[in-house]
């Protein structure tokens, strides 16, 4: 038993090691004195200092995070509603056709999506910038949310919902007391995947942005011709550590609160 346990831990360790290897590599080179990611040239903080003085890049980072969080949030709401709707359609043909439509934005290469969104926005005379980027990010994040939420809804099945409804629960109650709590993991996965899509997107953003608005991805890709400076590594390192602290912090805060709630509930039980 202990032998198997160790083997499984080793497997997980390997997976995590591979997942984090390139990021570690990037961060190590952010301290290199050279100006490219080959051959480490000795330790320095200079790239971090350059970053602090680069107001333009900092503004871009803030804009990137704003777009990512806001678009993921809205996409998660719309996508979850969509998944709830799809789940209630009874005919398999309708479901499958809606799902096919849903997946079109996932299968279409970014250039095509970007170009058609650009044509779309300019035809409607919407000036390019924050709004168009936000709308586009919401648009291409919705399908992944649906894909993440739908399996949870399917597992929930109909028995529980119909039981609740038989007991006289209203639609709102069923949604807030039964369905939403059950599909929360799916919703959160959808949100995080939407964040990933948004942070990673280059081509769509490139086409629909304008008037001084830019995101980190656009900036990084357009630097490729001249060579990406290690300042970008430094930036990625900082953002990564920030995200790590945030994620771990959020998790333990959540745990702490849950424990407290549990204790309080126990106490109340004792009193009763």
């Amino acid at each position: 038993m202990t032998h198997r346990f160790k083997l499984s831990n080793l497997y997980l360790f390997l997976v995590f090691a591979v997942l984090y290897a390139p990021i570690l590599f990037l961060i190590v080179f952010s301290f290199s004195q050279g100006d490219s990611m080959s051959h480490f040239h000795g330790f320095t903080f200079s790239h971090y200092l350059a970053l602090l003085n680069d107001t333009r890049l900092i503004i871009i980072v803030l804009q990137t995070l704003l777009i990512a969080l806001l678009s993921s949030l809205i996409a998660t709401i719309i996508g979850t509603l969509g998944a709830l709707g799809i789940n209630q359609t009874s005919r398999p043909i309708t479901r499958n056709s809606i799902l096919s439509l849903n997946n079109i934005l996932i299968v279409s290469p970014d250039v095509i999506i970007g170009a058609s969104f650009l044509i779309f926005f300019t035809a409607l005379k919407i000036p390019l910038g924050f709004t168009t980027v936000l709308l586009s990010h919401i648009a291409f994040s919705i399908p992944i949310v649906v894909l993440m939420v739908l399996p949870k809804l399917r597992e929930l099945g109909t028995s529980m919902v119909s039981a609740a409804s038989d007991l006289g629960a209203s639609n709102g109650q069923i949604l807030s007391k039964i369905i939403l709590p059950y599909i929360t993991p799916g919703i959160l996965s959808g949100f995080f995947m939407a964040l990933t899509y948004s942070l990673d997107d280059f081509a769509v953003t490139f086409f629909v942005t304008g008037n001084g608005f830019s995101t980190l991805s656009v900036e990084i890709y357009s630097r490729a011709r001249q060579g990406i400076s290690l300042e970008i590594n430094a930036l990625s390192g900082i953002l990564f550590l920030f995200a790590l602290v945030l994620v771990v912090g959020y998790y333990f805060l959540n745990q702490y609160q849950q424990n407290r709630r549990l204790k309080r509930a126990n106490r109340e039980e004792d009193i009763l």
Binding site: I23, S100, R154, T196, V248
Partner: protein, 272 residues
């Protein structure tokens, strides 16, 4: 009856999205696919596509590599998701799986170049264990490795969510009835986690069809997929007609895949 009104409410934002950001762009793509370089209506693009060995070859390439990537991703992700679900702080570990996806893809690809290059860490390790340096970049191995790396979180997430819902009592019952671990897996665990696996396969296979950047960055353009061709038609020859035609083919391929992996038969097949 009340579910009908509910349905409508769910579908309003989602339906608007489908209309504006899916159907409108698709109509635009289909329209463009019938235009030649002089903006005249023509079927030539489709004729070129189906008559030229180059494009059919690319289609086969795309399908084949997408399949390889999906299988590799699934093989790594399923055990990972399973083992993760047994850990103490499993939600935290899951978040840590997603975290690396927030670092820019281009940067991670550059990091992989550094790791896999002739003088990189991977080769230093191979030399250290006595195998000696190998050509790692521009091989199918490195291409599939990096593509898998990028897709892993998209597979782990839905599988993890469905494993989470596995009712431990079914597994215990199965063991109590004398089933071996393998039998339990095949007859109980696997069918019950199938919705998650399907969601994962869809969110990995479909985008893998149109990969283009990694085929060049890591694969050195040894593998040419439909994504590469679309990229060239939109950004180099500016032949949007031909590019859109390939886009239409991709969308049709996706719909076919959806029908095959769809749930028309297995609907409600999850054991309750």
């Amino acid at each position: 009856m009340k579910s009908k009104t509910n349905n409508l409410f769910y579908f309003i934002p989602y339906g608007l999205w489908l209309l504006l950001f899916v159907m409108a762009p698709v109509a635009l793509i289909v329209y463009h696919s019938f235009l030649n370089l002089n903006q005249h209506f023509t079927l030539d693009n489709y004729i070129t596509y189906f008559k030229s060995g180059t494009y059919l070859m690319m289609t086969l390439n795309s399908l084949w590599y997408a399949l390889l990537i999906t299988v590799a991703t699934l093989l790594i992700s399923y055990p990972t998701a399973y083992l993760l679900s047994n850990l103490k702080h499993k939600q935290l570990w899951l978040l840590l799986i997603i975290l690396p996806t927030w670092i820019n893809l281009l940067l991670k690809a550059y990091a992989f170049i550094g790791i896999f290059s002739q003088s990189g860490v991977a080769n230093q390790f191979l030399t250290f264990i006595g195998i000696g340096p190998q050509q790692l970049l521009f091989t199918n191995f490195s291409f599939i490795f990096v593509a898998t790396y990028i897709q892993i979180p998209f597979m782990i997430l839905p599988i993890f969510n469905s494993i989470e819902d596995l009712n431990q009592s079914y597994i215990n019952a199965s063991h109590d009835l004398g089933a071996t671990s393998w039998q339990t897996f095949r007859k109980v665990i696997w069918p019950m986690t199938l919705p998650g696996v399907k969601a994962g396969v869809q969110s990995v296979f479909i985008p893998s069809l149109s990969l283009f950047m990694l085929t060049r960055l890591i694969g050195g353009n040894k593998v040419i997929t439909l994504g590469t061709a679309i990229e060239e038609h939109f950004l180099i020859t500016m032949n949007w007609g031909m590019g859109s035609t390939i886009g239409v083919v991709l969308i049709v391929a996706m719909v076919v895949i959806m029908i095959f992996t769809g749930e028309s038969k297995t609907r409600g097949g999850v054991p309750k």
